[in-house]
Each structure stands twice: as structure tokens, then as C-alpha cells.
Symmetry: C2
Subunit: 253 residues, 2 copies
DNA sequence: CGCAACCTTTGACCCTCGTCAAAAGTGAGC
DNA sequence: GCTCACTTTTGACGAGGGTCAAAGGTTGCG
């Protein structure tokens, strides 16, 4: 296909070599290991970190990119929380994922030159803007970066297949249990509590992601609470019995 | 992550420069345009086609790779038809896709060095074996190939998001209509009839993909037939009213 | 050619989750 | 601090699709 054409908004590529006001460095970023530069050795990192052209703040409720937007860059989340979604012909929204620090957004656009979905910040966030033109060039020069880029995309595919399993084969309570367990693991990895966190999404957004209606999600939270698995208060969730939650997953059917 | 380590089965990399018995060339392949080398100019293609180390026949029912297998290569389908699936802890299978000529398999393994899912031939098939180590090197030397590789992975992500929409937001009859419409488009692209084809998968496999039980799929086929949208006879399907099928999609809810 | 394994269809019944509705809780902006 | 819009919870009810069962069809193999 010849659609892989448009690559950079000019605005994001001005003066790529100039010194920047803020210190955008991967070297001293605590997310380095789980982010795109993970696996790049320290000497190379000095150069590789120039893939980060700038940073961009996205306030809660604002979109980082929307479906149909011209592709220019991929984005690494430096702080905050995003949802991604796609919309079909009838205006139905399907939430395709929730993303946090160190995770990459925007790879859906490489194939067509336009974003297929929308990324919206669910809390005030900041991302590292990595113009794809630069990513391409750097990937050529630094094999470890190339491999890491492929790995990140591959893992996104694997993640998507997991969501298909969730949506295609699991019952409602298994879906929510799987979601909570997954979220817990990702929080731990980032140094947060595995059992005590604030959900950034509404019941409706979570329902969309899980293929359920918001009422069902709400009922499941109540049900899990009654069962002593979690304590919910609005968006604040405390996992009381992670083993119990994960047993829900093994208890197929 | 350091998991991206293991790359080639020796067996697949022996004598990469030797002349081969069969003429494995992209230049004269009718799938060139929709395959990985698509977009590579003809001069470069002479070299680039060396990413195809060999071909491999996979008989109906055999697997090309299985979950847990060590990653060595990605595979371009030269002829035939595959299903891919993942299996969860409880042994539940979720079919994640159906693939035909020109499409790439195996990208799920780049991130971890092991295949996350399984690819099974649904008819006697042949694939081009492209050792990832060679793909990496070629991608460095030929930017167009690099871009195409990224594009292919990106499109797989977009496809997956479409499946999430299907599984998360559509009703049973919309899912089947969407599937038939999609299959029709892909057949056309490859020079086959858009309205007359042989389904390679069982009702159960199709049901798994669509998040439905086999009985539901069977009922839907009967229902579509009764409505004059299609004619079904076992695995042979003829689309009688593609517009009617696609209207099912717009008629949300 | 005939058997066995598998696949498909169809019916009857039922359960999970969606729909509709109402009320209470929460939070952002004036 | 008050209002209004949004979010969440909970209940009652119903339907879409799952489950169970049985029969017929198809295919491959000995």
C-alpha cells in the first residue's frame, strides 16, 4: 500500500537540534526500562534520546490525537493515564485500551498515515513526542532501538489478542477480575501499590473496554465487594484478595 | 526488556546464500504488492527478496508455529489459509484471526522471543520463511522495507482494534455480517470472487473468532439465508445481497 | 464400500447480561 | 455555597444468545 506517506507536522519538527528549555532526557527518566529506549545501552542512549523531540502536556479530557488525524509522531507517556478508543460508522465507541507511564501511543497510524483511533487523557498527563521520521532514522542507526520498537509493537499485538480472549471467551465477572489483576500488575511495575488505586475511567468507559454495560460493571463491583474481594468507594479500589480474584479466572465457566 | 533474544532455528538459517532448488523470488510473486516487500522499488527488491530464506509447506491441520515455540522467523503466506489462536490458563481457545495470501504471521513473538499464539493451516498451504535476524538487517539497509514492516504491524494493530469493536459492541448478526463483508473484500483483492467462496473454518472456529457459540453461528447462517442475503451449503457461501449485509451493520442495535 | 469421527442443523429451555427507570451521590463552575 | 450535569447504584424485567439434546450430513480411512 502506498498510504504510508505523511509523517510530520511541521510544528513538531522545528529546530530538532536546538537546546530545549526543559531537560528532556531518557537517561534520567525513571521509566526508561519500560519505555521505548529500554534495552539501549547507556552510550547509545545519549544519542537515542534525541528521538524525543519535545514534550506535550495533555489536560484531563483532552485528546492527544483523534481518529483521522494526520500521523506525525508516536508518544511515550511520561505521566498520567490515557484511554484509546475507536468509533464505528454508527458512532459506537469501543475503548481499546488504558495506558499509563512508559507505554507507547499512536502506533495505529503508521500503516495508513492517519490515526485510526483516539487517545484521550483521563487525568492531566504529559507525553514525550517522538516524530516518526526521527524514530525511523534512529532505528536504522541503533539496532537495539529497532528491536525495541518492534518488540513494543509486537507486545501491543499480544495485548490485543489477550483482549480478544477476554471479550470473546470470558464471562462478565472473569473480565472484570482479569482487568483488575492486570491493572494491579502494571501499577506495581511502576512503583505504585498493587492493591490500592484510583480508577481513572468511568464505569461506562470500563464497560466499553470489557464489552459490558455500565450497570453490569457497577453490579460486579458491588458483587466483588460483597464477596470480600475488593473494597470500592467510587473510583477508589482496594484489592483485598488478589488470589480470590485470580481464582475467578481459573474457575472457567 | 531483555527477552528479545532468541532468533533463529539453525535449520532455517543454513546456507542462506546458496542457490535454492525452487525459485523463491518476490519479484515474480503475484502477491508482491500486498505482502511485506510492497513498496520496495524494483532495484532494491532484487536484494530485499533475500529475506525469504526458504519456503515451507504446511498441510491442512498442521501448525506453522505453536504458542511457546521459540521465535525464529515471520512468515508470509504464499498460498493457503490459516487461523491463529491463543489459549488461556483454562484451555479455552480464542481464535484471533484468519489469514490468507500475502498476509504475515508470527509477529506476536518479536516482543518475547516466543510465540504467544498458534497458527494452524486450514488448507494445504505454503509460506515464505523470513528469519527475523535477516528481516532486521534488511530493514536497516532498505528504509522502504523498514517502513513496510512497521506498516504491516501497525495494520495488524488496527485490525485487532476492529475485532475488539466487533466483540465488544456488536450483536451476533452484525458480527457475522461484518465478517462476511470483510472476507469478501479480502478475496476480491486477491482476484477471487467477492461473492462466492469456500469457508475454510468450522462453525466452531468461526464462532470462537466472533465470540459466539457454534450453534449461534449456524442459526445465523440459516437466518441470513432465509432473509435472502446469502446462500449457504455447508462451507460454500454465496453472497446474494452484499448491500443488505452491510445494511445490517449500519442498523445498529 | 462401509464405518467412525466429526461437523452442522434445529428445537426447547434457561441464564446472563442488557434495558429501562429512579434515586442518590459527586464534582465543576458561577 | 448552590446549581446543574454527570456518574453511580440498585431494582425489575426481558431478550439475546448459551446450553443441552438429538438427528442427519459429510469426510476420511481402513
Amino acid at each position: 500500500m502506498s498510504a504510508v506517506v505523511a509523517f510530520h507536522k511541521k510544528s513538531e519538527l522545528l529546530n530538532p537540534a536546538q537546546p530545549r528549555k526543559f531537560e528532556v532526557t531518557c537517561t534520567n527518566c525513571n521509566l526508561r526500562e519500560i519505555c521505548l529506549p529500554g534495552g539501549v545501552c547507556l552510550e547509545d542512549l545519549e544519542q537515542v534520546q534525541n528521538i524525543v523531540h519535545s514534550r506535550r502536556r495533555v489536560k484531563r479530557g483532552e485528546s492527544l490525537f483523534a481518529a483521522g488525524d494526520e500521523f506525525s509522531s508516536v508518544y511515550a507517556i511520561r505521566s498520567g493515564f490515557f484511554k484509546t478508543s475507536v468509533v464505528d460508522g454508527e458512532g459506537r465507541e469501543q475503548v481499546t485500551g488504558f495506558f499509563m507511564g512508559g507505554e507507547l501511543l499512536g502506533m495505529d497510524a503508521i500503516g495508513t498515515g492517519r490515526h485510526n483511533g483516539t487517545a484521550v487523557a483521563l487525568e492531566d498527563s504529559e507525553v514525550c513526542v517522538m516524530p516518526y521520521a526521527i524514530v525511523e532514522r534512529m532505528a536504522r542507526d541503533y539496532p537495539q532501538l529497532q528491536r525495541q520498537l518492534h518488540a513494543v509493537m509486537s507486545r501491543e499485538i499480544v495485548r490485543d489478542h489477550g483482549v480478544m480472549m477476554l471479550l470473546g471467551s470470558m464471562r462478565a465477572e472473569e473480565r472484570l477480575a482479569a482487568f483488575l489483576s492486570n491493572l494491579s500488575k502494571r501499577f506495581v511495575r511502576r512503583g505504585y501499590s498493587p492493591s490500592d488505586f484510583h480508577l481513572r475511567m468511568t464505569r461506562e468507559e470500563l464497560g466499553s473496554y470489557l464489552g459490558l454495560k455500565l450497570e453490569t460493571v457497577s453490579r460486579l463491583f458491588s458483587q466483588f465487594q460483597k464477596a470480600g474481594l475488593i473494597a470500592v468507594e467510587q473510583k477508589h479500589v482496594r484489592i483485598l484478595d488478589i488470589a480470590g480474584l485470580e481464582k475467578l479466572l481459573s474457575a472457567a465457566k
